[in-house]
Subunit: 276 residues, 4 copies
């Protein structure tokens, strides 16, 4: 059920980010190590910020490992903030409008996991979406619905609270419909300057999520590792699974928590759904 | 804004139906004569009935004139009832789930036209869809929404009334939102044994629609025309525009009317929206 | 590096053949058990004979597990002779013209394996292709080149000899170029009435290949197994890997041999390249 | 049969170049004014130079007017040298490897036109391609073959002579095969610093080709036209058809000639095939 990465720091080449690492995201599209599915070949997407506040988004229904245009784009594009996602559909159609990241103005959103029995909850959730936002839902996934609920609940003003309320609503609807453990998610969202990443599941056993440790520290630890030396001190990665085996480079994000990445700063706080 | 054809009669090869005529539907995909747009290259679809009650549906986002698999399928498939549609998008994404014909159980539905300012009406219309049917909406088009409204209003029991009520609802919602001339449509729908075709627009100037005249009569008129001799006496076509220039072969369907085709029988009746 | 199946017998539904079995070919596209690669997601193709001598061919660059049109086609198409192939590219582009089976008039051809260092041999092999056939090469794969060499060497008159000479030429060119173990192949080809399957590799360690055993015998062995009862007595399958775990249902094709399937008859003979 | 544009000058946004003009190339993909075909919907491609000597190339089989990723890429990419091409196939498959521009190291090549009866000449031409280059031919078009012939004849050292010899060879092969008027072409090629554009046809009636006039002069002529003011003094465009109706902005390239664009400098010389 999908894998993703969120990068922030000095501008990097998308190629270095998506293709070079030993366990790169493109590699994971064919052979994920920690994913619920080993193959994530049902499309993919990349969102990156360049000169304007609105990020570029490249989404394709091909497996990432096959997409020549992704290689071309990656070879020429550099960005200080990149979201990338490889998809393993849980049933909805394989089409660009169902590929992550989803974009709204300057915001990006991507999700790994699912809403249990989404079909049974879909109408109730759709009804809860802000009437002005509703027509902008383009695809048919639970992930996009969750994004629009978060937007409805104030994502642009207070992301952690908005996501908590969105998840709270889903769990409330699930209760009414008698659906157990409705939410399984790791989610990343950004406004272009800050990244918020969430790890949560109603059942308390969420998909894997990791964030990179302080590059300056790593550099001292591995004075001879070139990969690290190319990274800026404020470089930060949040990923579904580590991109390599470098010991100490990755720290697991605990269950039911939210990581905020702003510049070199990182803040970890507990995450809890809020009943609406 | 799209072109379509609906055939019923003795089983025909899809190739004869879609590729052979002088002004075939595939030809129209690149050079429509009467269409609101000359190019209908934003995907296409074919629905055909074979052994089971549920029709097969082949839909693609490629222009029909380019799709090799359509040629292959057409060369081997024969069917007594075929719906075919070429799309010119009025804004929604070019993806298979937005291609016509749409299918529900044994029913097919295709539409040429648009709902004016659909974005402004989308939520109200979505709310009116039967709660059980709502999650089955896969795409983002006004055409599919109209189908689900018709299903909601009893398409399976009384198609003309169901379509009249669906259109009536759209016009009522449009009135509330101050949208003028909301409906522009030629629609065809079938349960596999009868075909209903509608020509209607709120403004009273609808897209072109024609139906074929009695084959037996034509055959007497053109004793030497091979095309006609291959057709069965009960062969009937309803089309956005004539497939050829044979004089007397095509009769225009009048404004605000519904044609019912059952076997060799044809019935023309006025069509009027019903306020809900 | 690809998986394939070749069916002959009483007409079967493509759906039963491609989707129903426990280890169906579509299943193998995501999780092959015996393949050189577990994922065969770089396109696929199906060739089937219907009313005409020329088979229909449906080829797509999508992973087979995702292609909705394949499901639609499979649900309505029945055929007494079916070739199906799922691709794992060894480098050449993922495009329809590189998908198997390849077709020439009434002939089909599919290949699992590769020609080592094909790039270095490509021109020499291309030069050996019959000048009239050369322009009909549409793709860029070693597999299609092997097909055209076999056609050049008389595939239509004596398939085993033509394939032996094609392989012989490749090995001769490889020798000249100093390429070791140039050929790795399981190949199936048919003229619509007989199927020839080959298992061979220069190194003597070929990809897996199996053929089904006598259905009548199996039926006695498993009186209660419905799968078998649906099959006709002359039903024969040649496959890259067994479609299920039924003991005794599958027999491995030995190294360096050719299986000929005609009606219920089966003939196994040794296969050896012929120097040209 | 295709339309293209070649830009050089100060870095411009691909969006400004491909989407903004009144008769933009994307517009021409649906409604070409001067093309041999009005619809150029059989794929497209963009090549652009960024930081490295090797240009990026984005090619797609979708009609340019539909490709969302092209819009995304165009919105973020800026380049001082851009080649863009929209395709109308003359028979060869619609696949990325048949889309222009074609790339070899730091070189780009695109072609509008065709080689008459290419099928009959294909093998002879393929044989003339440098043996080292031959395996790098990926597609099946006459245009790519012409590129590889030019590379074979020294494109990297002396483009005008190399193209003259390539065309000369085609005409010689055509003579041998009794093919009349074999070459119809406007071709553009660049090494990343200079652009060479050719207009030639064996019959002496070539596809349309224009180049932009001196921007500084235009700016004096139209002091109030914003489009022009955004352009740098050394901005130069060579196009299949004018991007707008600005009088004096476009000058037709004469029959049988070659335009060389280097910086603000332009040189027009006669072009004549060279017998090999």
């Amino acid at each position: 059920m999908c894998r993703w990465l969120a990068y922030s720091g000095a501008p990097v080449s998308l190629e270095d980010l998506l293709f070079k690492p030993a366990n790169s995201l493109v590699m994971q599209s064919k052979h994920s190590r920690l994913g619920a599915t080993t193959v994530n070949g049902d499309g993919f997407g990349v969102g990156w910020y360049a000169d304007s506040a609105r990020p570029g988004v490249y989404r394709s229904t091909e497996p990432a490992w096959n997409d020549r245009n992704l290689r071309e784009l990656s070879a020429v594009a550099r960005s200080p903030r990149v979201f990338a996602h490889i998809r393993a559909s849980t049933g909805s159609a394989v089409q660009q409008t169902n590929c992550h990241p989803f974009r709204h103005d300057n915001w990006l959103w991507m999700h790994n996991g699912l809403l249990t029995d989404f079909v049974a909850m879909k109408r109730d959730l759709a009804m809860a979406v802000d009437t002005g936002l509703f027509p902008q839902i383009e695809g048919s996934t639970d992930s996009e619905m969750l994004f629009f609920l978060a937007l409805t609940f104030g994502l642009r003003d207070d992301p952690p609270t908005a996501v908590a309320r969105a998840v709270g609503l889903v769990e409330e609807v699930a209760r009414r419909r008698g659906i157990a453990d409705p939410v399984q998610m790791t989610v990343a969202t950004t406004d272009g300057t800050t990244t918020w990443a969430f790890r949560y599941s109603s059942a308390g056993s969420s998909r894997s999520l990791f964030h990179s440790t302080d590059v300056a520290v790593l550099r001292k630890q591995y004075p001879d590792n070139p990969d690290i030396h190319e990274l800026s001190d404020d470089a930060r990665l949040v990923v579904s699974e580590p991109l390599g085996d470098l010991k100490g480079a990755w720290r697991e994000v605990p269950e039911s928590s939210c990581v905020t990445v702003h510049g070199a700063g990182e803040e970890l706080r507990p995450f809890e759904p809020v009943a609406t």
